[in-house]
């Protein structure tokens, strides 16, 4: 019969339409604006309405999600900030579109590089969010952020992020990427322990040697 295929197709759309209401009743009151509702609507059982009502509801960011990079600093016991970045320049070398600029300085007394960047710029109009800088940073100093709500009216000044704009505390990192953070903490603790051991052996007479805590300077 001519038209059978069309009717069959319309049956599919009708099913989809009805399912929305069936699901609404089944999930009475929990389908919208609730984390479990959003999770259900993005699971294999999603039926009917599929829309996530941004900005009222937001899709949860998976841990690996990457947007613009940011720099991590540790807050020391005395309240001062210590950059994890040592300005080694590996992120600059791996950056495919070359959007990172790092200014390194040397200590005038010793002539050796200071393990902290004077300035750190990322031109986010060039950045391709590839995540290489975070992946290859040996000090876990640069990581990819989850904050995607960055729209602005201006770019000449706003879109070159400087060190101040890029820096975020280590606690922030622990909240956006808890699993990765734990793994990295464990590796760092192990490294620090080994380093402490080595140094203790090397300088046995020094009773208290600073193990370096979390901030491995990678000297």
């Amino acid at each position: 019969m001519y038209g059978k295929g069309i009717i069959k197709g319309m049956g599919v759309t009708l099913k989809h339409f009805v399912q929305t209401y069936v699901e609404d009743i089944k999930w009475f009151g929990r389908r919208y604006y609730k984390p479990e509702g959003i999770a259900h609507r993005s699971s294999k059982d999603a039926k009917g309405i599929f829309t996530v009502q941004y900005p009222e509801e937001k899709l949860p960011m998976p841990e690996e999600f990457r947007f613009i990079p940011f720099l991590i600093y540790d807050v020391l016991e005395d309240g001062t900030h210590k950059d994890r970045c040592t300005s080694c320049g590996i992120c600059v070398k791996v950056c495919p579109p070359q959007c990172i600029w790092i200014e390194q300085t040397t200590n005038p007394d010793t002539g050796r590089p200071v393990p902290e960047p004077v300035e750190f710029y990322i031109d986010i109009d060039i950045c391709m969010n590839c995540g290489y800088c975070a992946e290859y940073c040996p000090f876990d100093a640069i990581k990819m952020d989850h904050d995607y709500e960055l729209a602005s009216y201006e770019r000449q000044f706003d879109h070159i992020f400087n060190k101040e704009r890029l820096s975020k505390p280590a606690e922030y990192y622990a909240t956006v990427r808890p699993v990765n953070n734990q793994l990295e903490e464990a590796v760092r603790a192990e490294k620090a322990a080994k380093k402490a051991e080595r140094e203790a052996a090397k300088a046995a007479k020094a009773a208290e040697k600073d193990a370096g805590g979390e901030s491995d300077n990678g000297s």
Binding site: G9, F50, R66, S87, I90, P96, W101, Q104, V118, M128
Partner: protein
Amino acid sequence: MTEAAPVVQSVLETRFPGVVTPDERKGYEGYIVTKEKLVELATALRDEMGYDFLSSVTAVDYLSEEETNLEVVYHLYKSTGGGSLVLSVQLPRDNPVVDSLVSVYPGADFQEREAYDLMGIRFDKHPDLRRILMWEGFEGHPLRKDWKEAYHNEDTKPFSNRWPDGQIFRSEDKNPYGKNNIYPVGFDPTKWEATEESLLYAGLGKAVGEKGNIETDYLVVNMGPQHPSTHGVFRMAVVLDGETIIALKPVVGYLHRNHEKIGERNTYLHNMPFTDRLDYISSLSNNFGYALAVEKLMGKKGAPSERAEYIRVIMAELTRISNHVWAIGFLLNDLGAFFTPALYAIEERELILDIFEATTGSRMMCNYFRFGGVARDFPEGVLQKIRDLVFERLPRKIDDIDAYLTDNEIVLTRTQGVGILTPEDAIAYSATGPMLRASGVPYDIRRADPYGIYDRFDFDVAVRYHGDCYDRFIIRLDEIRQSIRILEQALDQIPEGSVISGSNPYQVRVPAGESYGRVEGPKGELGFYIVSNGKPHPWRYHVRAPSFINLTAMEKMCIGQKIADVVVILGSIDIVLGETDR
């Protein structure tokens, strides 16, 4: 290279003495051909030895202190399967002319135009040798090694002004025009006459009078580059007699983003995220092709770990599914079923993208493959999510789409018998992927020339035999089903272990040589041709883009059809402009 290679070599050397010599440079496996006998040789290869499929034509600029040659490289395959035969022709730099192969392999058409455009190699007897990616009148041939662009910073990355001085600047601040522009010395813009359009219309022939006036009995219609059905910035100049198409020229290049020039400045690792942006709907397939090409050069050191091989297959097949549902949805969009089929298709795609986002970090630009493996393992719970999709949801939903669309009388009338491509034409025009298989040629690289671990899986090569738009639509459903089959096996067999062999360094060592890595991408054969000279940057980086080469057959398919069908035919080819224009 293949088991047949010695046979071919002996035949070639006896039939064409002095014409064909094996390429003896380290890392090269092809043959060097003298340019005078190229067409004769190609005809013999096609007709007598079964090398009927010209996969890729490209050029390499070997500019160095000792050498100034340009070289045209041809990759030939048999449509019955097997490895490649690489031919190269060396040309002098000051007068690079070689006979066109369009008469033997019509599929060489666009690729030769590209080589002309970007490398300045002239192909004698080419029917329509115009620039293709850039416009007529553009100064210079950008892929030549001595050509420098306006924002030229340094020959290779990393640029030294990024670190340790960090003198930040925007490139435009250093350019005299404040823009990404450069002009020849003494150029006077007021005297400039643009020739791009007039040459295009001259190429169309029939409709245009002697002085470029359009005659009245034919109508020239330009579709695109801003047109809702061209899937991006694609343009077709169509000559109509009433509503019937009598000539058609695709105009591409509106998204030419200079992948190859940038790729030759990048290190090998840098190129990986750039490949994401080729066919941006199926980035993981692009990653796969590029990783294969580089790993081939790296030899044993580049061999991926066992778990990584499985993850690669899983990701590539998920990509294929997400690409095909998207293609089906938008083909229906082009047919006039505005958005409902696409919305249903996008639902499934979004669920797959969720998996990509959770694993790789990004929905579209995954940048997930590394040389010797993949970047990271599946996070907790993701493998279960994939299993849920593959074993439960996708089969059900694909059946839904099937029930929804395949018997629909409107779809049938609009697509059956429209845009027919015969198997002979499909091979001659170097069509690949679903387009080739819908014409009845069971050629799938996963089977014909297996890469990765595809030889371990049990699946069928989907084939349809009419070669019309309906078959090109339905074959995508078939392929999704086969992909689900592969995924089911891969998910059952995936072993534990490391996801990368080696330490994932940021600077990989690639020995000198050439390699051509190709994968069966969702759109067709995606090939990466890489020439390495042992430095951290590829000397030549060429992408054999399936969407680009599939378009070669567009005119053939459209002539004689109605103007309304062009949209459907284009939709059924499933092009992505990022890849077409690169």
